[in-house]
Symmetry: C2
Subunit: 469 residues, 2 copies
């Protein structure tokens, strides 16, 4: 990755469109860096001729024209943010122009021609981090906040952006640092064979640390699901109405739907937000057993999707289902039905084809069952309610939740290092070896908030941002 390092970056003045691409009433183009005001000055002609750029106030909107080769490109509002009182911590300028595609494109072109460089993805936020406006986990939360489509994902991101998670990590580091100073003091006097640290107290501290870390690590199960959407596998024999059911659910909830690109051809994903929860529906290939190699692969993937799902919807056709064949289902999916981490729901579709409600099935199968008619859109709200009831456990109070796999990984490594420390004590290893493991734990915790970092880590993190942020 040929990304400019921190030093290069801070010398360039960057620009980019900051509002979503497309046509709208207005759009905002941001400039950041030392030359922001000088570059803006070359293009912006304030309506108030008395206005001097030297005395331009920070945070004030000025009305005027952007000129392109002597002609007016647009009438705009320009706002100067004097360092360090800006998002990036550098001198910045925001220009609000009309949201025409031509004006947006041309304005950026003019800025580039006048000395700006086009911002890299996430470069504004990376600069904010490098200039100490936020720590690394907060910077990462900015991307999560922007991507958030559901209430729960938003709550997670905003808590992290506002430093809830950082504070927790800082507390753990502080505890660990106390521990390290005690150990290192012991190390300094090791030849005298003195034990300064009270070992019982140290053990207790280690146990506490491990508990806290384990709590955070476990929270990733929730955090990841909330961020990515709760995975729901839709399974069933061919022609039982899986697609119709999905569409009925979409309409019933007037839900927000988005396609996830890059999914495999045979499992199409739809996401629907219901009551603030984002569900990720995976429509799987059929379940017939097959001798055909290709089809077997498809079925293998179906089982893989089922394993990854938090909720399994087994759709059956009530017009043709009978208790015996349903009991086969019960046998086939017994593992998943008994799995405490999964919710297995039987959806009896096509009840419009039945004379009477098949309530007895539920008792026979001892399964949570919802009867619907996807075609006639009957009882779809019951299914939606059932889905939401299964994920109430994911509703967050303000406790700290890990939602980034990078943090999850770092916490796991810190946990392992602490386990090594504990093991070291048990085996009565020399203090300097124990100190090494402690420093490892500190390092991994520090990598979360960016106390220790590398250009490569930064490149990986900010490369995933959109341009303009």
């Amino acid at each position: 990755m040929n990304k400019p390092g921190p030093d290069t970056m801070n010398n360039d003045t960057i620009c980019a469109l900051s509002t979503p691409s497309g046509t709208g009433a207005i759009a905002v183009v941001r400039i950041s860096g030392k030359e922001s005001l000088a570059i803006a000055r070359g293009l912006f002609h304030p309506a108030n001729k008395q206005l001097s750029f030297e005395t331009m106030e920070s945070h004030r909107q000025y009305y005027g024209e952007i000129r392109d080769d002597g002609k007016v490109l647009d009438e705009v509002l320009l706002c100067y943010f004097k360092a360090p009182h800006s998002y990036t911590g550098e001198d910045s300028v925001e220009i609000s122009c009309h949201g025409s595609e031509y004006v947006q494109r041309r304005l950026v072109e003019l800025l580039l021609a006048n000395g700006c460089r086009l911002a890299e993805p996430g470069e504004y936020t990376m600069r904010a981090f490098l200039n100490g406006k936020m720590d690394l986990s907060q910077a990462e939360a900015v991307a999560d906040l922007i991507a958030s489509e559901s209430k729960t994902a938003h709550r997670l991101a905003i808590n992290q952006m506002r430093g809830g998670f950082s504070k927790k990590i800082a507390e753990l580091r502080a505890q660990l640092l106390d521990f390290v100073s005690l150990i290192e003091l012991e190390l300094d006097f090791s030849e005298e064979d003195v034990e300064f640290a009270d070992r019982t107290k140290l053990y207790q501290l280690l146990t506490e640390l491990k508990q806290e870390l384990a709590g955070l690590i476990n929270s990733f199960r929730y955090g990841n699901v909330i961020k990515q959407g709760i995975p729901v596998a839709i399974i069933g024999k061919p022609n039982v109405g899986k697609s119709t059911l999905l569409n009925a659910l979409l309409n019933e909830e007037k839900a927000i739907v988005s396609d996830i690109p890059g999914t495999t051809r045979d499992s199409i994903e739809d996401t629907i937000v219901i009551e603030g929860y984002r569900f990720r529906f995976v429509d799987t290939a059929g379940l017939r057993r097959s001798e055909d190699h290709i089809e077997s692969l498809g079925i293998e993937r179906t089982y893989e999707k089922i394993r990854q799902a938090a909720i399994i919807l087994y759709i059956c056709d009530m017009g043709s289902a009978d208790p015996e064949s349903l009991e086969d289902v019960l046998n086939e999916f017994r593992n998943y039905i008994q799995d405490k981490d999964k919710h297995f729901i039987l959806v009896g579709n096509k009840i419009d084809l039945l004379a009477e409600a098949p309530a007895h099935l539920q008792e026979i199968l001892e399964l949570e069952t919802v009867f619907v008619s996807a075609k006639r859109k009957e009882n779809i709200h019951l299914l939606a309610e059932t889905l939401v009831s299964k994920v109430k456990e994911y509703s967050l109070s303000d406790q700290v939740v890990v939602s980034s796999s990078r943090h999850f990984e770092a916490l796991n490594k810190a946990f392992e290092a602490i386990e090594q420390v504990e093991e070291g004590f048990k085996q009565d290893l020399p203090t300097d070896l124990i100190a090494t493991d402690l420093r490892q734990a500190l390092h991994h915790l520090g990598s979360i908030t960016g106390e220790v970092t590398t250009d490569e880590i930064l490149g990986n993190i900010f490369g995933k941002f959109c341009i303009g942020k």
Copy 2:
């Protein structure tokens, strides 16, 4: 159309997302109306606790939080625009939030729950018009400016928005008003049978007015084409490579392409911006004569498209074309080839299949000809250059050009009224009848800039805007 009238509207405080929909680094939500600041106050908590809303300065960005049920929805910048120094001329507030779909949606929901009404399409600009911030033709230009994708369409819109067209209309109206006063003076003294107005001078003035109006009316031919795109019909026998050619042109120019929705199945439109000109390519159905009714309809539509086109590209397959069959083309399209308002270009495709360049064809046919290989992307730049050379006439200096069909219609009606006046003079009609026609002409000119207007006209104009503008 159940649109609130001007009176209702000015009492409501409205809000809407003003930036393009979708996800971005930031988004802007605008509030306008008397209660703007009061409503914002209920949601916005400035970071500076000392800040009082009573002393909040106009045009200054304040940093703070939007709270939703006690919890932070987002960290935002809020800017207050005190009436009349805002876009609408009313008290307004702009909130720059993070460009997450959830945050954008929720912020608007909170504003609605706190006393805002969702803005109608174009309502901000309609209010700007009603509050005298701009005249009607300027307001219409705002929508054109936002929709502009090409340099020429942009130039047209911005000139109109900045009042170039309004000034011209005002001049014409002033001339006409002078005329009317003279005539009406005569009318007041009509019983005395006195002719105050110098008839020769009046005739001259009428001729001048007609010329000016005719000039504007004619400019619509250019204006409309620039706004809608220059219509280019692509015709030819089946399998001569029409689609391949269009794709080659797209790639060659790294052009901006957009689909126009609502086009008929058998004529697909692509628009490409080349050197600032927007071309609207109409790929037509084949040209075979057919006894089949359905296919005949398709061919009828093809001829309709050809009639509407400014440029006709006749594509032929050089691998199979011979001078005789091309002369048939010459005969079939003689009317269009000789039409001074159209450009007929023969495109000899598949030159890769030929041993030598078929330069002699051009002489034989006396047609402008470009030889290309769409498949190998050869000479595509020549075709692009030829297209642009044909539309240089559409390049605008800063002369006033009519681009709105509403204005075109009003100008035509004004022109007809002036002709009636002229006719009246010739027939020595009573002055009061002539005065009626003059008032008609004034009325139609006034309708352009909104001196005279109705709720229905306003509804039609602003209903076409996007929400948020």
